[in-house]
Symmetry: C2
Subunit: 438 residues, 2 copies
């Protein structure tokens, strides 16, 4: 993509309303634009990141055995009356009357609707277990939306629902999601720590929050220092096998939010305890028959007896993650995208647009990168070199290829790693070989 025609309206000044770094970076880089309080338009650069995150979530849900469907944003109030949550949910639920004066609502979550789909479709244990998920916009009418996409009103969430015959089987489904979450966040370059959690208004018995570490995080978390070394890299996960050992290993290490952590009663010696800040990006629950019982979602067991199906729900804040990743990965110049979610693989900077040598070398590199399937953002604008470099640092692509007249005289261009700041001088051919072979 050529920056001269790309719709990426960067801002020179930081809007006053942006209190946190991800919000500032996203506005300044032209990733999002506020449409109204807590509601954002995703501009092309931001949408590319959102889609990459969404795709990682989708792939890991599919690998775990999830099946994707898509429920609508607008729901009828009837089902919520059946579950008893319509009156309980409070003002965060956006309530709507349609033209026939029927009570509708913009779904803040989908337990009721998925239970309705299930109860009219599945009758027998032979069709279990099932994991169904969707990635859809939700609305929660926060009283004071802030922090950009981190606490917006309209937000994109992956919510999955598991259906099992009994508790033992439901725990297996829970464990599959537990491991899928570890893999999902690790693929995005994040350190995500599952922490035992209150089940809150959704209710249930077994629940973990997944919290990513970021200095600028919203809450304080405490964990054993061994957490920093844990990784599923190289672990061959078999979703058909017993995942309990992996779950036990992770849940055996101490980790708690400040709501739960009690300094006077902590099992970890102070020398091994790390205090950091974190951001919640996922939440998983087992809640048994909380919805299936009132909604009458029953399945027949092997012996023919019918009973309410056991359910769990599993959320990931997809749009929230865009902000969360920036909170976890930035410096004072701007964003530092992990390779797995970057909107473009490479930024190509023409330091002197209009100079025949620079233009020729850039056009050639750009064409060859494209031909090799490497997505490059080419800054071909007729602007000052300093401004171009600052913009490229701000939007945070992991690699910059900087083409200037002085280097070209020696047959080289500069390759800069955004994260480390390290630079190398390479011939254009060597640049091409490096990125085309990645």
């Amino acid at each position: 993509m050529r920056l001269s025609s790309y719709f990426m309206p960067t801002l020179k000044e930081t809007p006053a309303e942006a209190e946190i770094v991800s919000h500032r970076c996203m506005l300044r880089a032209g990733m999002v634009r506020q449409a109204s309080s807590g509601i954002y338009s995703w501009l092309p650069l931001g949408l590319k990141v959102l889609r990459r995150i969404e795709q990682i979530v989708r792939e890991e849900q599919n690998a775990m055995g999830g099946q994707e469907l898509l429920m609508p944003t607008i729901q009828s109030a009837e089902l919520w009356r059946e579950s008893g949550r319509y009156d309980d949910y409070g003002k965060e639920m956006l309530r709507i009357k349609d033209r026939h004066d029927r009570d509708m609502l913009y779904g803040p979550t989908n337990e009721e609707l998925i239970t309705d789909i299930f109860r009219t479709s599945v009758r027998s244990y032979r069709q279990l277990p099932k994991q169904l998920y969707h990635i859809q916009w939700k609305f929660r009418d926060e009283i004071r939306p802030r922090f950009g996409v981190m606490r917006g009103r309209e937000f994109l969430m992956k919510d999955a629902y598991s259906f099992d015959l009994d508790y033992e089987s439901a725990v297996k489904s829970y464990n599959r999601q537990f491991v899928a979450y570890l893999r999902t966040f690790e693929r995005m370059g994040l350190k995500a720590i599952p922490m035992a959690a209150d089940t809150g208004p959704i209710g249930g018995d077994l629940s973990h929050e997944f919290i990513i570490l970021a200095e600028t995080g919203e809450s304080e978390v405490f964990c054993h220092r061994d957490w920093l070394e844990t990784s599923l890299k190289g672990v061959d996960v078999d979703y058909g096998g017993d995942l309990q050992p992996i779950v036990d290993k992770y849940t055996g290490l101490y980790a708690a939010t400040d709501e739960i952590h009690d300094p006077g009663n902590c099992p970890v010696p102070e020398a091994d305890l790390i205090k950091m800040r974190g951001i919640e990006v996922g939440h998983i629950f087992y809640f048994g028959t909380k919805y299936s019982a009132p909604l009458g979602a029953e399945v027949a067991a092997h012996d023919g007896s019918a009973g309410p199906v056991h359910m769990g729900s599993y959320g990931i804040g997809v749009s929230r993650l865009v902000g969360g990743i920036i909170e976890a990965s930035h410096d004072d110049k701007g964003i530092v995208w992990p390779e797995e979610v970057t909107p473009f693989a490479v930024g190509l900077v023409n330091m002197r647009t209009g100079d025949a040598a620079c233009d020729g070398a850039c056009e050639d590199l750009y064409a060859k990168l494209n031909a090799a399937g490497v997505e490059a953002l080419y800054d071909d604008r007729d602007e000052r070199a300093g401004g171009k470099l600052a913009d490229m640092d701000l939007i945070g692509l992991p690699w910059q290829v900087i083409v200037g007249p002085r280097g070209l005289k020696n047959g080289v261009v500069e390759v800069k790693n955004r994260k480390t700041g390290e630079t190398e001088e390479l011939s254009p051919e060597a640049v091409l070989n490096r990125f085309a072979s990645r």
Copy 2:
């Protein structure tokens, strides 16, 4: 995907509320499920088709020079008051009050919001032309929703917006979309005919509806018989070049809806006139400064003078197309998917699940098709062969591979073309070679 674990709740009986064939097929095949009046959940099979159609639309918009962004579903009423449409729009607009009693609405279209994004981002002719689009759920509170996804309340639409300095340039943008629409629908296996149209509540000067031919279509259309022969296949479209000849060729042939067609005053001799039924699947408009003037979206021209930008808008009913394609391509057994939008490339039917030879041959074929990247839906259910064949016809995959004990004794399986009904007997290896090389 194995049908034994796939969430595809087919229905034996046709729900009484389904008046048209696409609605009946989609409910019976387990593609969608009504959530409330005019609002549907897309089950896995339906979602796969929806995503394939969406992806074709996206690719053709990108090829034409469109840039994708994503505006939210919920908008503030303020912008609609600026344009003057808030009071005009009527009861089809879903109006909402948030917890602070602010007027909000579920976007039925996005002219106001995109104009707002544009006016705060672009100031100069140097940044023009621009085509921005998004693919997002819309809501129109139809008084009597019906025909399933063909006239639902919550529906997925691609809406694009063009921005140009003047009329001449705007016509070029309009022509690019005109040609992109021809290509888009042709790729889906549809015959779509652009017809000069009223501009309706959106307003404007230059407008075409794109109508696909289907015997069960909602409206009567009249066109010159040469329309049936027109095609862009083999035409090398250059979006940077002059597209007027292509547009002239298409608009030069007579085509009109029954609202406009006047039998007493038709330029086409009766022998050359075809009367058919059609379904509107797209609509394009040039409307000049209708929104940019009241909203103050101005750009500076070469001479420094500022004026309102010239705009057009371009819609495709993405979810409507799922129904539209079924209306255009079905028989009395069910759906007949064009290859380009089919949810799976091949259906693999095990005629006798439990029979060692059938199971072995199917498992082997299924594994090898998967390995070759051919998406197969494998009916491994322990059910009657007749029911399996009927289900496979109903869901309409273009090819069926039918594996039975009798054929296997002779080393062959049956390959059936869903559209023509033609069958062939081939060895499993030959089946694999055929599909793997497609």
